[in-house]
């Protein structure tokens, strides 16, 4: 069981390392979106502090969306996905490995780059810490839910736009509590507990059901 998980995880990471630009594109997309906002809404410190958490989260949402398109597409085109469906292993395990790899390549870099975005928006050290924590718990949920949409829109014309139409509404809870945690930390650092509890419970539920739903979707898409 674990051998298969590691095998697929290792495979996807190796593939990504041999095509580094894909990973960097997502990261730079995030940085650019975050940097554009102050140019649009003005550079007043007060405004930026209020907008910061929401902007960072929406940018993270879009960045992870952008990368989702590639989650299964390459494997679908060269037929390796078909072989995974026929493997003597539970498909949801393979899917979970692929999602994990995807998060390590697109979600984790966002967590690590978040302090930079926080500084652009004059957030305090505490808020930045909360933001990193919230992104750390929240971005895996984005990858997990997004995988369902990526599997459903596999090989469909206009798949990318369609994917955002299907998945973005489902991201609302993570967005609300993710940015809410950062927002509240500006007033009261100790009040962030319930936000993290909720985000963590989302993660657990998504971890249980999303791989199953994605594998069901993959089976439908590959018929």
């Amino acid at each position: 069981m674990f051998r298969v998980f590691w095998c697929i995880l290792h495979r996807d990471l190796t593939l990504a390392l041999r095509r580094r630009t894909d990973v960097l594109t997502t990261l730079f997309f995030f940085i650019i979106v975050v940097s554009l906002f102050p140019l649009g809404v003005g550079t007043e410190k007060e405004t930026l502090q209020t907008l910061g958490p929401g902007v960072v989260w929406v940018a993270a949402l879009l960045a992870s969306m952008l990368a989702l398109e590639r989650l299964f597409a390459a494997d679908y085109e060269d037929g390796t996905l078909e072989q995974m469906l026929l493997a003597a292993q539970p498909l949801s395990l393979v899917v979970l490995a692929k999602i994990t790899a995807h998060w390590l390549l697109t979600g984790l870099p966002l967590v690590l780059i978040a302090p930079l975005a926080g500084m652009q928006y004059h957030l305090t050290g505490e808020s930045i810490l909360v933001m990193m924590g919230a992104l750390l718990v929240g971005t895996p949920v984005l990858s997990l839910i997004g995988a369902i949409g990526a599997a459903l829109t596999l090989g469909v014309r206009g798949g990318g736009i369609l994917l955002s139409l299907l998945i973005l509404p489902l991201y609302v809870p993570v967005l609300v509590y993710g940015s809410g945690a950062v927002e509240i930390s500006r007033i009261d650092f100790s009040a962030t507990g319930p936000y993290f509890a909720l985000l963590a419970s989302f993660l657990l539920v998504a971890l249980t059901f999303a791989p199953l739903a994605s594998s069901a979707a993959l089976k439908i898409s590959l018929e």
Binding site: V156, L162, L166, P173, A217
Partner: protein
């Protein structure tokens, strides 16, 4: 007599049955709608009391609340048929889900539209990021997503099943989404909409509201069945089913 319900799961058996049911549902739509509207305009008080008094414009409630109810109910029904289709592999269930979606989307849009018109005089704004408004908006996106996914996939079978799975995922997520917009701060919760309580409502208002809800429900049946009939014809004739031509021939002759 034991009735074999699965007999009607065959599109060829369901098609004539639906044809006979449609006029009945239309009558069940029109009559309650007229009663409900007349009652709503003339038998109800001109002004609602309470802390913030509402004048004539409150009567938009007779359209607004029923559309909002139907928009949610139809999503549940749609996801239900989608689930039946996935489990029992019955083609008709997928077509049913497919036929419900546009009606559901229209009701959702109407609920938002009438809500905006009601919000302007009573709250002083067309739109507010109130939990129920937001949730209704997201429901609208879910309907649009379902329809868009279905129409983007060329292979009918894959389209049916993929959209069905999406509908079910959406149904699971709706309560979570609603809850998250309803309570953005887990330390405290607040909402612009007043807590509603049907038993506290004035009798005449409640009567017209429920009558119109019934009318809208029957309207959903009528439009869904009409759409379903054309879906059946479209797909069955493409599949080369011989009964389609005989049925159409008969209908043309009579």
């Amino acid at each position: 007599m034991a009735l074999n319900w699965f007999r009607f799961a065959a599109p060829s058996a369901f098609y004539p049955l639906a044809g006979r049911a449609i006029p009945i549902f239309w009558w069940l739509t029109v009559i309650p709608l007229v009663i409900g509207l007349v009652w709503g305009f003339f038998m109800t008080p001109d002004q609602l009391g309470g802390t913030n008094a509402q004048k004539e414009y409150y009567r938009i409630i007779f359209i607004h609340v029923p559309t909002a109810w139907m928009s949610m109910w139809l999503y549940v029904v749609m996801a239900g048929w989608a689930a039946v289709g996935l489990v029992f592999k019955t083609r008709l269930s997928f077509m049913m889900a497919n036929a419900i979606a546009p009606t559901g989307a229209v009701f959702t849009f109407l609920a938002l539209w009438t809500g905006a018109f009601w919000g302007r005089p009573s709250w002083g704004t067309y739109w507010d990021w109130d939990p129920r408004l937001t949730a209704e908006l997201i429901l609208f996106f879910l309907y649009i997503g379902y329809i868009a996914l279905h129409s983007a996939i060329d292979d009918t079978r894959r389209a049916d099943r993929a959209a069905a799975l999406l509908a079910i995922v959406g149904l699971v997520m709706v309560p979570v989404i609603f809850w998250s917009v309803n309570c953005p701060d887990p330390n405290q919760c607040a909402a612009l909409h007043q807590r509603s309580d049907l038993t506290r409502m004035e009798g005449n208002i409640l009567f017209s509201m429920l009558t119109i809800t019934f009318a809208f429900w029957m309207y959903s049946f009528a439009t869904t069945l009409m759409r379903l009939r054309s879906l059946i014809l479209e797909r069955e004739s493409a599949a080369g089913a011989s009964w389609v031509e005989t049925t159409l021939g008969k209908e043309g002759a009579s």
